[in-house]
Symmetry: C2
Subunit: 201 residues, 2 copies
Amino acid sequence: MPKVGQEPIRKAALVSATIHEIGKARSLDVTVGQIARTAGMSTALAHYYFDSKSALFIAAMRHVLGEFGRTVRLGLRRASGPDERLRAIVEASLGSDQFEEHVVAAWLVFYVEAQRAPEAARLLRIYTHRLHSNLVHELLQLTGRARAREIAQGAAAMIDGLYIRHALGNDTWGGQNAVRFVTDYLEVMLAAGDAVRRRAE
Amino acid sequence: MPKVGQEPIRKAALVSATIHEIGKARSLDVTVGQIARTAGMSTALAHYYFDSKSALFIAAMRHVLGEFGRTVRLGLRRASGPDERLRAIVEASLGSDQFEEHVVAAWLVFYVEAQRAPEAARLLRIYTHRLHSNLVHELLQLTGRARAREIAQGAAAMIDGLYIRHALGNDTWGGQNAVRFVTDYLEVMLAAGDAVRRRAE
DNA sequence: TTTTTTTTATTGATCAGTCAATCAGCAAAA
DNA sequence: TTTTGCTGATTGACTGATCAATAAAAAAAA
């Protein structure tokens, strides 16, 4: 049975199983044994491919973040013009892909882990910065730099907030409307910026 | 040494130690032993006053939520007029009290716990509903019911998002500006509502 | 008032269970 | 025969919870 070239297959299976199990347990409190069993192998083999449990978690987090990045890039490639592109970013962040149950749980859990594990914090910072600079890049076509940065911060915070409220089931809206909340915010803030600018002139 | 009437003192010490230890560990992964030692007693005594570890966590969460509720009520009592009162709500949510290191960590950890423990979920829902209805109550003086609800949802999401970004150190602004982000949002959304209404007339 | 009983407060020791990690060793390719 | 893939068994450390035992205060009884 032992074939060569199993490493990438096994690692992928373990990463996928990790996300799945975290989603099921809704917590990082998942044993390597559970993960390994779900991935169809022994505990020892899981440790053969990943030195430690936390290394496995980091790999899982990197995978979720990678998936997200790919979704954003795909959305951006399809959109044209700043408005459409802003919408694409928001949709990638609050789209149905990201709202899959186990992905949601993984994100929440990673948020907590980012408080302790430096590597997890680093990964999350990359996500934050990318979201911010993506938003600013488009907003710069529509307003000044200072205002673009401010609106991007507000929108990013709103995205995170809507995400968490959905994750905890504390939302009355469906996932659909979440996008509208942010796009409304962007639209209104940009219009208000115009008003301010006009008033100043 | 054993005196009567220790129960409230011991329980308060345990709750306080729990919040402190969660803040230090930045995780729910804290042993009863650690908490008990910090509270100046044995593990067995901690179990004497709280049946289980999770009962202790729930008590700690109830305490944090209670403190928050008190802060909101105090702020509301001091404010007059819907604008001031809205500001008071936001300030209570994003004020320096709530940004104390261990309180922040406790909130984040409770968010995750709310995914599994029904009682934790219930407590968090109370917080969510209270924040929402507080906001709606004031907004109703300034706009229609449907719009009030929508703006309240957006503002609440933004508050949570700003909170988490601060908790993770992913904020470039200081805690101060966080309040301004939300009040700006409220102001602009209300103004836009007026514009829409005027346009419709 | 003194004595006895009950209640409250407290702990060290320990149980029963869990878990991450290791290791020695086997099987099949290369 | 060396490398890669794989596992059962085991280790060592930890943890929540329980319990028997003890001390002091309060209440009841004498």
